[in-house]
Subunit: 408 residues, 4 copies
């Protein structure tokens, strides 16, 4: 994207060192006005310092938005309706925040008359793709500046030297510098890099920031009751809460009980494998509980269809296609399936375990005790029906076997 | 199947009350000779009493076979290569044993000149389907007798009365009678019925038989190192073992650490929902560890294709289609994918948790630290390539957005 | 279903010999009142004779309904939005009519206080399944009588003897008796049985009833222009028509040009293969034309997702699951995708061929000539982007190849 | 790829104007040695002129290979086992030739010590992707030069001027210059560009080169009998032929009868829609006939699984992933399914129509007339079995309906 003319750029700005350097670099390289956008999506950091820093760098238009409710209501909850997991393990904590940032950045370009956006994601990762696919889908003529793909500040030393040269304060965000590359929002916190680059190495215990270790968690379990309406949690232990409040509370409950740590090797969209560690306490509870309420209220074939499409839906989110027509199309189907997903789930949290111990739905349970019972069912189910069921299901295989056909 | 003429029937015989009553009932109702077949598939019970009982009931041809190695090698291991889970939770412990029983029953009919088989599964469950689809696929002209679908002994009282009338010993298998319907093999033990028929009720602690509860498990973790060859575990902590030995050892290790308890509502093939509890200590470890070694050694798209087909493969096994051509066809593909699945996985077991803490593969790792690194990669990856990658992936969405098209 | 008590039964009544015998047999066997229901779904037969016959057999409540518009609008059109084809060939002409009959039969049971339905489909075919699954889904307590599965009139001779015994007129519907089992509605006419039972035998030329043979069709082509709105045809050659009028007109145009004959072996849901011949002139045109308008107006990934789900959607309809929640769920997604499917398609009909020769969409075309052109595109597309696109898509394969890994 | 140092490059060389200009441009721009590779894959052109031209341009190492048999045996036939069609219409004629060219180019780099390849595909199309993904998969360190993405000869005029400047002969290949961009091999010939860039315009009759128009085709049909072994055609009308001979003969038969013309708008992998016309006479026959022999010899669920995976398999080929592990994995499954696909198919060719009029398989037919018959089946099939089959399949919907649950 170099060589392009840019008048005003909206920058996704955290207030940290990297994006502060980017801010300065944009001013220098493109000679353009910069608008900063800092979002509170539950990463748990003070945002006002970002304002101060931006002002110090001469920024006139500074956006600092609390997007926590929108994030959980319009992004996290719809995704959990699908029971989305990437590659059998990953709850998509980073992936699901990016399309919201992209959307708000594009809105800001329209509000401020900017013709470009910029972000601090590197050229090796998934986040650049998520930001940019979203931006292009929402404003096809947008110009995009990804400094990490353009500049020559491709080492820590050069970055620090640049900061020093331009009097950008190099404070460390959380006490001493973390050896990990981290990302946090209300759904999760992630760790990459450092010793994690060796997939055989176990993460050090002090890496984890949100959750107690299972070993240090309480010796008595915590029971929680979740109320579902149309596939979303609307109350915890009977108390109605907003979406963001629900996720925050589940994070506290899960984190305190050692729930939600994950250590995986994943396949990036750009073609390489990488190792990541994640803490997703609330999300881990939500996934198990949602499956439990669905197990009672969803038709079998609907549930199976969802399960077969889930990996693709999860890949779409992982790869940055939240704003694509195919994701929207799948969402229509998923949301339609949630009409009957109402009821309560009771989970037990104990030293890293999330155990479903009960599920009920007064209005929508498809569990029919009168049929399923091992006791006398008074004719609710005619066992003789099973013979014909089996015989016709076997017919094609019997015909083949009679002819002595061997497959494969 | 009533009204048919049967000369000799091979009965899947456990030696327990139900199949003893069936044995007698077959002799009485069909006036035919009965061959008994009792398999050791790791259910953990003495089998010689079954011989004594069968002899007491006048049986001449008694088969008692140790099938543990065949069970794990030819059924459990191939299934785990697919990471099979039914409905997001169930590890298919009962489902995977039935096709082996069906196969051996049919072999026995051929060895003994029997023209029919009989089993003790009810007309409400999945097991009748699994037995019978297997039998029909392997011997299409076989006659099948399912007494529970035919007789009028449809309550506990009538069964006991029948037993008493025919001097069939009514001993309780494990001390006092369990209130649950159970099934066990080397992969798992299952519980249904009793208070579990209320999906809101938490199972009582003393129901579980194989595993220590997480609460009572040791306070220090156990680390285990698993060696994979072509997708199967061949050694534990460096010691090469047979398939059955491996599963038995993982059951001990997992069970001692509170691993593998599950409590779900599932959708039966015959159309109803039922509640089941399962203990699968070794299988729970195997699933996580297999995913971990695949995460390092499997191509991304191969892994995703496997993930998308897995729910269907799992349903085939759950529904009894192990011997179907479509399962065989999927297995060809799954097995072909495992050529490179070689290496080691290190897992930590602690109070119910199975955590993967390391994975490596000297010969087959696709994890390329020189590319994935956050440090200087010396040109192994050109970050500028990402721009074109993103732009062409965005092109269709940009064209649509330029025309102002809204989807959905 | 024998042995059940029935008070009043709603019978799907064609007025032909078979269902007239059934009518009488129901009265005799169940001693119950019978309501007849005869639907005009475009089969092209006089329905008033059915009334006369029913009256002659003493029927008081006689329903004769014109369902042609509902049939095309609510069943045929939604199905064509999905480009549904069963097993690569069959346009589902019979399958799609059955759920409508089931729905209306159940409505009639409610209007008349009937507690049962009856139909004339045999126990070997798919239609029994389609009628009954629909009926059970819409009224779960309905009793169903399928005389062909119950009675002993299992040959033509016995049926005729029964008819004679009860003075049921044995007129042949279309001049001499057809050697084929046929079914017709506005979408198609089907032929089974007779010499078709040998899949090596070519059908005789005089079997076909709706279409001219390609050989006898006009020597000059017919051009037709179809207007689409949200995936449905709303006008032919600029003339707005109702759904049933559209299908009728396309049948005439296609039939006159030898379009829509099909000869296949298909897999029935009950487990056997059968051979069927079909004439679907209008449907054959609709399928090609719908794909053509979608090729211009549908996003690539949406189109591909539809294609991947289509076989399953088609199987659901073939197998009788129109009223199932999974079909409804898929339909939500399919319908959502059709928002942009607006425009015109021009097709050429000539001696059996349907050729798309033009497609356009003023408001919704995603075809961008300025980008696709082989001529100078003035920078609309940067060819250099392709290098990065290819390199990142190749990355995972390059990493594997560098390590010398061979798959499969 | 500019700025790289190249020692010797293997060029995919047709002998036409474009690749002759490229040859010269490579010598000039990279100052490197050039090896030319010209393949006979059935495009129907003399190849010796390519040798003469290459020699005139100073080339020392000239490869001219007849790859027709390899092309059909190892690429076309495996693809047709899958019934592959892209986007419901396109038979992948261009797509399937590219991986073979890529493979042979890479072999030649190894034989000649070349470190780079070059091709004449533009930066807008699919072919660049297919060449390059194949090359990278087979030799990950290969350098790739795609002149159309690099040079400034981006119009016809500049190209001609360059040719004139360097004394490259500008003869027109087939009499006067075609207004279309064409590609041909033994499977098909394609047309793009020119008036086709307007998707509403009907192609002119004289565009088509391989096939007679349906209008001009003979007034009497041609019948052909095809013999299949393991899914491949091995004989035509009883005469055993090699794969290339079979395809050539079917092209003649089909082309003479107006078979195989196609006119579509397709979605390119690089993100744009384009319009293409294709002639695939033999392939069109092969697709219909293969489905017909499978309809008799393939298990229903195997056939359905193949149908559901086919669109993805076709996309892999279209997008250039022939040499990917996921294509190889799918191929394993597809090939495994073809064991029983043996027998004969009889097709009728008439003025553009391919009609299957018979299919048989002495050893592998799963069509069981004794069961399927409309006549008395002597108990081969018990119609009463259907009742239980339907009732259990309906059970989940009945339970839902009893509770008054509405889905969607």
């Amino acid at each position: 994207m170099s060589n392009q003319t840019v008048k005003k750029v909206a920058l996704a700005y955290s207030g940290g060192l990297d994006t502060s350097v980017i801010l300065k670099w944009l001013q220098e390289t493109y000679g353009c006005e910069v608008v900063t956008f800092t979002a509170d999506i539950g990463q748990g950091e003070e945002l006002e310092p970002a304002r101060t820093k931006a002002q110090a760098l001469g920024i006139k238009e500074i956006y600092i938005d609390d997007l926590k409710e929108e994030f959980v209501r319009d992004f996290v909850f719809p995704m959990f309706r699908a029971n989305a997991i990437y590659e059998g393990e990953y709850l998509l904590g980073t992936s699901i925040a990016r399309p919201l940032i992209a959307k708000r950045l594009i809105e800001i370009t329209k509000e401020t008359g900017a013709d470009a956006i910029a972000h601090g994601a590197t050229g090796k990762g998934n986040d650049q793709v998520r930001f940019e696919l979203g931006a292009y889908a929402l404003r096809p003529d947008i110009k995009i500046i990804a400094p990490w793909r353009e500049w020559d500040l491709n080492s820590r030393e050069k970055l620090l030297a640049y900061a020093e040269r331009h009097a950008i304060p190099i404070e460390m965000k959380r006490g001493k510098a973390s050896p990990y590359s981290m990302d946090a929002n209300l759904l999760h916190i992630s760790y990459e890099g450092g010793i994690l680059e060796d997939p055989w190495a176990e993460p050090e215990g002090d890496m984890w920031r949100w959750s107690t270790s299972p070993e240090a968690a309480p010796d008595t379990p915590t029971y929680v009751e979740l109320t579902y309406e149309r596939g979303d949690i609307v109350a915890i232990d009977g108390e109605r809460l907003t979406p963001a409040q629900i996720l925050a509370k589940l994070n506290r409950l899960g984190g305190a009980n050692g729930v939600g740590r994950l250590d995986i090797v994943e396949n990036r969209y750009v073609g390489m494998k990488s190792r990541g560690c994640y803490e997703t306490p609330g999300g881990t509870i939500m996934l198990r509980a949602h499956r439990a309420i669905e197990s009672l209220t969803l038709d079998r074939e609907v549930a199976h269809l969802k399960d077969e499409l889930m990996p693709r839906y999860a890949s779409l989110i992982y790869n940055g296609y939240w704003w694509s027509p195919e994701r929207l199309m799948l969402q229509e189907m998923i949301d339609a399936s949630q009409t009957t997903v109402n009821g309560e789930v009771r989970v037990k949290l104990y030293k890293g375990n999330v155990t479903v111990v009960g599920r009920k739905s007064d209005s929508n349970s498809l569990f029919d005790m009168s049929i399923a019972t091992f006791e006398d069912d008074r004719g609710a189910y005619n066992q003789k029906d099973a013979e014909g069921f089996i015989k016709l299901n076997a017919l094609r295989m019997r015909i083949a076997a009679k002819k002595g056909l061997k497959f494969v």
